[in-house]
Amino acid sequence: MNKYSGFGLLKHGLSYHENWQRAWRNPKPKAKYDVVIVGGGGHGLATAYYLAKVHGVTNIAVVEKGYLGGGNTARNTTIVRSNYLWDESAHLYEHAMKLWEGLSQDLNYNVMFSQRGVLNLGHTLQDMRDIQRRVNANRLNGIDGEVLDTQQVQEIVPIMDCSANTRYPVLGASWQPRAGVARHDAVAWGYARAADALGVDLIQQCEVDDIITEDGAAVAVHTKQHGLIKADRIGCVVAGNSSVLAKMAGFSLPLESHPLQALVSEPIKPILDTVVMSNHVHGYVSQSDKGDLVIGAGIDGYNGYGQRGSYSTIEHTVQAIIELFPIFSRVRMNRQWGGIVDTCPDACPIISDTPVENLFFNCGWGTGGFKATPGSGHVFAATLAKGEAHELAKPFSMFRFNDGSLIDEHGAAGVAH
């Protein structure tokens, strides 16, 4: 792998950029791999990368039905934070946060991780109690965070309406300075390029349509385009399609697939340099480096695989944003889209072995898994390499729904992300 650098750019510039290497190969699948990862989103690609890099397992394929990073990875609003409430999730997301902090250098691909801080606003007394509780828990867990009052919020976001005149005045916020946003595509591509360089086969346009089991153990995936691909272990990281894959293997997951929408404004000059989220008015916004206001909210209520949602959700979201930022009223919305998110009853992921031996699932990230990408890949890689859950992944077993050891993150997961 040729290293990327400013110097490299100059060098390639002088040769008209005619000699850039491919970021990844386009290989034909082999008949058998040590590990097959189904789903070439950020989580699947990160899993492959850490399997190869940390565990030395390089005979791996990632099979992706569309294009790399084209699922929710390509559709999300890229908020990265680790201020979750419960120890189990806080440790998992903080593990990811630490990996984010050196990711561009590790991958030699600038994922533009921008630690511009995230505000979670509180608009009711109960919101503020919950914020206090979460920030206190974060602090004792070693995660940065502060509770801000209205005045302090106003100082960080001068353009927000923090007056008492709004329907739900801003009473305060939690503030995580290390949180921020990253460039979603770059995350997928960076992992893909780095994994490819370690020998991982990335197979695009290859849809798994069956999981083959023998004596209760998974032995191969069947794909539409390339037939059977055998594997010692199979890891499914297919987000909104997880239930479909589980069904192929003969069990069901406690997941619901819902549309989740997002939208962007036309690009405008920098005006908002942090991320503002509000569970109560139900919307969040940040501004991308390109200048778009990136806006989202909660899931659509119904189930579906359509990758688009209903207009009323868009209306509510925009109303929430105008409520917080009345000055954006004349700015215009450029584009909206949707992804399909896999939501768990307790708003926490599943990183787990399954009733089928040698088959593992990493799913249920719902509306907020982008932020976990490095951590999720890292612990899932360990899980696949060893055949048993990584310490941080243990609480996220799918069997927690049988014994009731749920990790309720509805409060912290809130609107989404």
Binding site: L9, Y109, S114, L140, E146, E266, S288, R335, W337
Partner: protein, 1007 residues
Amino acid sequence: MTQNNRLSSGGRIDRSQPLTFTFNGKQYQGFKGDTVASALLANGVDIVGRSFKYSRPRGVIAAGAEEPNAILQMGATEATQVPNVRATQQELFDGLVCQVTNGWPSAEFDVMGLVGKAGGSFMPPGFYYKTFMYPQSMWDTYEKCIRKAAGLGRSPRENDPDIYDHINQHVDVMIVGGGAAGLAAALSASRSGARVILADEQAELGGSLLHASESIDGRPASEWAAEVIAQLEACDNVQLLPRSTVNGYHDHNFLTIHQRCTDHLLDCAPIGQARQRMHRVRAKWVVLATGAHERPLVFANNDVPGCMLASAVTTYIKRYSVVPGERLVLMTTNDSAYQAAFDWAESGRFVVAIVDTRAHPGGDVIDEANRRGLKVIAGSAVIEVKGSKRVTGVSVSAINQLGDKALGPVKHLTCDTVASSGGWSPAVHLSCHTGSRPVWRDDVIGFVPGNSQQKQLTAGAINGTAALSTCLQEGFQAGREAAINAGFDTVPSISLPKVDERHIGAAMALFHIPHSKPTSRAPKQFVDFQTDVTAAGIEIATREGYESIEHVKRYTAMGFGTDQGKLGNINGMAIAAKSMNKTIPETGTTIFRPNYTPVTFGAVAGRHCGELFDPKRYSAMHSWHLKNGALFEDVGLWKRPWYFPQAGESMQESLNRECKAAREGVAILDASTLGKIDIQGKDAREFLGRIYTNAWAKLAIGKCRYGLMCGEDGMVFDDGVTACLADDHFVMTTTTGGAARVLEWLELYHQTEWPEMEVYFNTVTDQWSTMTISGPNSRKLLSELTGDIDLSRDAFKFMDWHEGTVAGVPARVFRISFTGELSFEVNVPANYGLYVWEKVFEHGAKYNLTPYGTETMHILRAEKGFIIAGQDTDGSVTPIDLGMDWCVSNQKPYSYIGKRGMNREDCLRKNRKQLVGLKTKRSDVVIPEGSQAVADPNEPVPMTMLGHITSSYYSACLGRSIAMGMIRDGFERMGQTVYYPQPDGSVIEAEICSPIFLDPKGERQNV
């Protein structure tokens, strides 16, 4: 400046209405009927902006929604600023103020342009992924610089003075696009009697008919259009919506129309008028007649001002009477573009040459060119443009018939305008919004709509149809079919008018003009102007392995602009396909998503912002609370009195006073906001038993009972008291915030799980006003107000309810207590709420009756250890964790929601977090709510947390602070000490105790 490029006659502008506007601080003239773009071109303004990445000067290219360059900042005041207005779509009005969005110090002389020139070759697509990484600590700084260059226009800094409306419409036939096909469709659909909406984004209906050269029934096409429009206007069943863009097409034939009501008149809507309106349309059938966008060709320096679309040249001349230059070179792959040269020549300016990429063009238009004496250079292309701030000339070369090689020799032609046409791309956008993928047609050289799940027809150029007569025919047919499909059986067919048109010959499939140098070394050949994506950039992307068209898009930013690639995408796909040796259909398109063109956020939000963001709910006594100085707390939609401060009191002093009144005298709470659900039916009782965790089988008429509600997971989610009115009739109370959720929950279970049960639910929250009169004097006070209810201890027992009158008003009185004091909850019809409340106060004066709010209510109940669902519980607490085993019945024949959940292994575990009381070591210290408990305050981070404080107050009655909280294994740790580390480094020490701080035997409520 004078309007040098304005012809002395013709066009659809109104020369009797001259208008003055300001661009970049300078005043210009235009006419009513101009767009900002046509007015700028009339005045000879070449540069309307600087490009995003390379800061190259850019001019107007198109005349409609596909324009990528003329993106302006508009607005005469700070509050009325609008970023990124497309000058080709903004109608001119007197006093309009606009300016370029990029370029410093000005778009004419831009400093960044120099950087763009020097650095351009070191900024290939995705360059930022490859650099700015080292050292890690520098990224913050790099990013700040990158962000500075971001964005086009700017957001206003002041609040929008305008209002926006929503309107819901139901129609039989929704027609999108008011060109030839759309008008024809509207005409034939309207004859059926169907309700029709015809929406078009332009100021005038008519589309290309407004500048067409064809004649219809022997008259200019525009006259035919005018006559049809007049006919449609006269139909009651037809609504014509000009200036109205159908921006989104959603499932179930739901479409949104973004109508600009006043943007063509003034900076800000006249008082009382909405600036814009969103129509939310549910259509039985939809006819898409959205036309097509002309594709420019991709050639070296094709972005120099003076390069335009051929059809735009025609539009500016014919509609606006503006010729945007002196000397034209036209490059085309097809017949349709010849019209631009004809119009140019007719306007008296010079056509240098028509460069036709086809080796042997022939047919009607070529004959006409010859007849007009225009020079046609066949089998050739403009391979490069000269000039920087305006075209000064072009290099023309013969090309091979595959279109991938410039064969030379290279000739130079002097000109100031280059019009190009690579054919037409059907405007398939809306047809794809609901998930349908477009289909490539080689004969059209474009994508046409694919199969759709929607009840949708298409007509005209969107189908790739070129001939006007066929467009009309398709329109008539689609309108008729749509009406029939929508259920109208008498749809008279309309005879097709006679169209006099030229025969159109075959076009050449060419997108990217070869240069004599390889693409990577030739001057920049722009594909997407707004995002500065070049043909070389696309080739780099595919070379680097970004082969999916989505990867190409995302890596290069192609199509990410405010035009969403209307002009460039097909060219980019063609270039990507060619560089991978694939066909265009194999490469495919990216996904079309709403919005078709950008929509004002304010319009999407409508009136639902500010005060009207959410409805406010007030109890019937709200005016009294206001008069009596209450401060309010938002609970759900309700405004609840929080506390009632008196002059000079601190909050704590008010609370102390309110609490004391309830414990020592009498106090009153407005409890109207609690949810009330009327439940009736023969299975009502059984239903309660399944929904609540406790037993309901034996609750007698005239009695009340407290109940807990759990989710399937066994976790508490609401609670409240339910009264038995009759064997088949109950009234349930819920928490204030949970009322709607609980009603939905009951309905959900009834409708999906137990439809066989005969039970009905109805919200009666608004129908009743509820006042809780609490304290040792409550009986005395209430007895003054009722003659027909025996309030004595034995006649009216705790957890009884009675019907009677209070202050002469029919009432239901409940003897229940959330304060621990003797308490009566008086419910009266809401219309009498204020009256009764005031009567209570009349009589209460002598007892010093004290109103209290939610905060005092919280303190009083906490003294008694009563929970508040949602404050002392989250989604992880079972009734057992709350110490409320008494409220869980395991004897029920049917089971209840949550039983299985709360009996799972982890929920039965011994050392779960449990709700306990906490007493601080220092009685005056109140532990902040949300504090986390640890066993060892000196443990290093990450610390082991035992639980958190859910409720915490200073209790005036007890003379000390009290708190409730979750503690791991709390029931077993009574008397132990835990520590609450605070953000400031201090630690609060507290002892675990029973959460019942006052009157553990419950004697006070029984006085």
